[in-house]
């Protein structure tokens, strides 16, 4: 088995998984304009839905998992957006602490509902790829789903349906002055973004041990991607996520596995130092 092609392929798949999460997170940052630390909880919710549908972990039903996981997360996210985020969103610190509290609360609820013991879904088939590589089914699914979701998001933002989102991201007062119900758009956006996280969790469930705290890692990594890339450029989000996935994998193989995280975080620091306006870029540009 040749190592380098396999590492590159796995790096792309890992990056796609980051991007899948980051897509929803950047939507919330751009439109709702809050730092949402509950995103990892929705990722976990999607994975648990997939596990529940999998009949003792022996069968994975991707379509049912995506539909049910996404649907439940959309409903819960919309409720959270309307009932909790919208009333306090003018206090950014409260939102950050509040979403973190929701996330921890969800972990406790998940532990109560599904137990603390890990659940798994059978790994599924992997198949031979080019250059002697092994293509992991979950990785290919995450990659394709990520491409499809990001493409759909880009299409939405460039269509007239995406105009309210862009207007709210640009200037809420102008948006409201032309009759857009900004509050409704915000909580629906929160719901849709939560559904994206749940879809990511459902798709990646066969690759992971499903436990209440499984969303913590993906949350941090997707937050990093969003902070550095911003929302104005979806292809940049994807490219950055894939780049970080590659860096993580190659660093782990050629340096040492423990160095991969340090390398990842050091790179992010350098990127932010070179592009300190990263936070300012977290709005949907008019010309997307």
């Amino acid at each position: 088995m040749p190592a380098l092609p396999q590492l590159i392929l796995d790096g792309v798949f890992t990056g796609a998984a980051f991007a899948l999460m980051a897509g929803g997170l950047s939507l919330i940052l751009g439109v709702v304009k809050v730092v949402n630390l509950s995103h990892g909880a929705f990722f976990t919710l999607g994975a648990y839905v997939a596990a529940t549908l999998s009949r003792q972990g022996t069968e994975f039903h991707p379509v049912a998992s995506i539909l049910l996981g996404g649907g439940v997360a959309f409903a819960l996210g919309t409720f959270l957006g309307k009932g909790f985020i919208n009333p306090i969103r003018s206090h950014p610190f409260s939102v950050t602490v509040g979403t973190l509290a929701f996330s921890l609360l969800f972990e406790q609820v998940a532990q109560f509902a599904w137990g603390p013991h890990p659940q798994i879904i059978a790994v599924g088939r992997s198949f031979s790829g080019p250059l002697g590589t092994t293509v992991r089914m979950w990785g290919a699914a995450a990659f394709l789903a990520c491409l499809a979701l990001l493409a759909a998001l880009r299409l939405l933002l460039s269509s007239r349906w995406g105009l309210p989102l862009k207007l709210i991201a640009e200037d809420e007062e102008i948006a409201e002055s032309v009759g857009i119900d900004a509050e409704k758009v915000r909580y629906l956006t929160f719901g849709a973004a939560s559904a994206m996280a749940a879809v990511a969790g459902a798709l990646l469930a066969p690759a992971a041990a499903i436990v209440p705290t499984m969303g913590r890692g993906p949350l941090i990594l997707s937050l990093i991607v969003v902070i550095v890339s911003g929302m104005e450029n979806l292809p940049a989000t994807f490219a950055l996520a894939v780049g970080l996935g590659l860096l993580s994998n190659l660093g782990a193989y050629y340096l040492a596995p423990e160095w991969s995280y340090i390398l990842l975080l050091a790179t992010v620091c350098v990127l932010l130092a070179l592009r300190p306006a990263g936070w300012k870029g977290l709005v949907i540009a008019r010309d997307v």
Binding site: M1, A3, Q6, L7, D10, G11, T14, S54, Q56, G57, T58, E107, Q108, Q111, G115, P116, H117, P118, I120, I121, A122, V123, S126, T134, R136, P206, A207, A208, A209, V211, P212, T213, G217, I220, L221, S248, N249, L250, G251, A252, Y253, A256, P257, E258, W259, S260, Y261, I262, L264
Partner: protein, 383 residues
């Protein structure tokens, strides 16, 4: 009139002392019940509860019932320390059993040791625990460990590798202290038996890069992968490895991969071995424990994070009975000189208060099973 008051006061004091003396003996159980190690902590507390129920069914100890006070350490050293203080000062426990991780156990030991409260360490394996006891015997007079130490653990793993005629192995774990200690100890034990290391990799707990570690381990030319991670990440790594190399044999140090509930969806195209302190069928006491556990909680024990806490409580209760007292010095003397029966076998403690495990005579041996779809089959030590 004065005599009546005096008699009343005497009777009240007598009644109070009688009721105090008849109060329950309390064991403080420290385990991670939330956070990333919650699954292991839950089994830990279940097993401790079972041991206490068993002891009470046999009449308790010192003529008193036994109770447990549970503290959630969250897998954090600072929480473990503060919960130890709470159990000792507010709950008034007579002894402690815990904690789970080596780091948090060191914190518990530092807090409980100088107070003379008996502490039985059931799971943590770092050599630092017994090193500290050896260096400061008075300070840690009442600290004893029932679980295998890292060198003992490595001896058992190496003996199994030798029995499988392994030439070279790959070691994979998480980048925490005890896992690196285990990797190094195994390297030394295996080298003495003529077995080499093909690859050693420790993934970061923050961003476990499973894929490149799996690529490296699968391509290292090793005969078997020793998976040193007892936590949930062992599942993710096993999946990644089996996607690349379905037939590669894997030896897990136990923990999560010993959970029978996961077997239907584990990738078992290649052999998957799991080390355990005891397993149903390994000894009559292990079988009796496994059956009781399954009946009480509806699932089989994993043989590690539950079996050892069960034995820790069982050994403590036996020491109370043997000492005829719950005082730290008396309990320590009993533990130093006695032999105590647990699910894994007979426990004897050496000068550093470490239970004897390994291939030596009279030592506890532990066991290694191989997962099949219909359950675990004991493969080591050979009958």
């Amino acid at each position: 009139m004065k005599r009546v008051y005096g008699l009343t006061a005497f009777l009240l004091l007598f009644a109070a002392s009688v009721s105090f003396g008849a109060g329950p003996l309390k064991i403080g159980v420290l385990a991670p019940l939330s956070g990333p190690f919650a699954a292991n902590g839950t089994s830990f507390v279940q097993a401790a509860t079972l041991a206490v129920e068993q002891a009470n069914a046999e009449g308790g100890a010192l003529g008193r019932r036994i109770e447990i006070a549970v503290a959630d350490t969250e897998g954090r050293v600072d929480v473990a320390r503060s919960e130890t203080l709470r159990l000792v000062s507010r709950e008034g426990v007579d002894a402690l059993v815990g904690a789970y991780l080596s780091e948090e156990t060191m914190g518990v030991m530092e807090t409980a040791g100088p107070r003379g409260i008996p502490l039985i360490v059931p799971v943590a394996a770092t050599a630092e625990i017994t090193d500290r006891i050896r260096r400061e015997p008075a300070r840690f007079r009442a600290v004893f460990r029932v679980s295998y130490s890292i060198p003992q653990w490595a001896e058992t793993l190496a003996a199994f590798l030798k029995a499988r005629k392994t030439a070279r192995y790959a070691f994979v774990g998480t980048g925490i202290r005890w896992n690196k200690e285990l990797g190094n100890a195994l390297e030394q034990s295996a080298a003495r038996l003529g077995i080499g290391v093909a690859y050693a990799g420790y993934y970061s707990p923050g961003n476990p890069a499973f894929d490149p570690v799996a690529v490296a381990a699968a391509g290292s030319g090793a005969d078997i992968v020793v998976l040193g991670d007892p936590g949930k990440n062992s599942l993710s790594f096993l999946k990644r490895l089996r996607e690349l190399s379905p037939g590669m044999p894997v030896l897990s140090v136990g923990g999560t991969l010993g959970d029978a509930r996961l077997v239907p969806s584990l990738p078992l195209a290649g052999p998957l071995y799991v080390q355990a302190a005891a397993w149903k069928g390994s000894t009559p006491s292990a079988t009796a424990y496994a059956e009781r556990f399954e009946k009480r909680f509806g699932s089989a024990p994993v043989g590690y994070s539950d079996t050892l806490p069960y034995d820790a409580v069982t050994v403590l209760v036996a020491a109370w009975r043997q000492a005829g007292s719950a005082k730290g010095d008396a309990v320590a003397s009993a533990l130093e000189n006695g032999t105590f029966q647990g699910a894994a076998g007979a426990y004897r403690f050496d000068d550093s208060h470490q239970a004897a495990w390994g291939p030596g005579p009279g030592a506890l041996r532990g066991t290694i099973i191989r997962w099949e779809r219909d359950g675990g089959r004991i493969v080591f030590p050979p009958h």
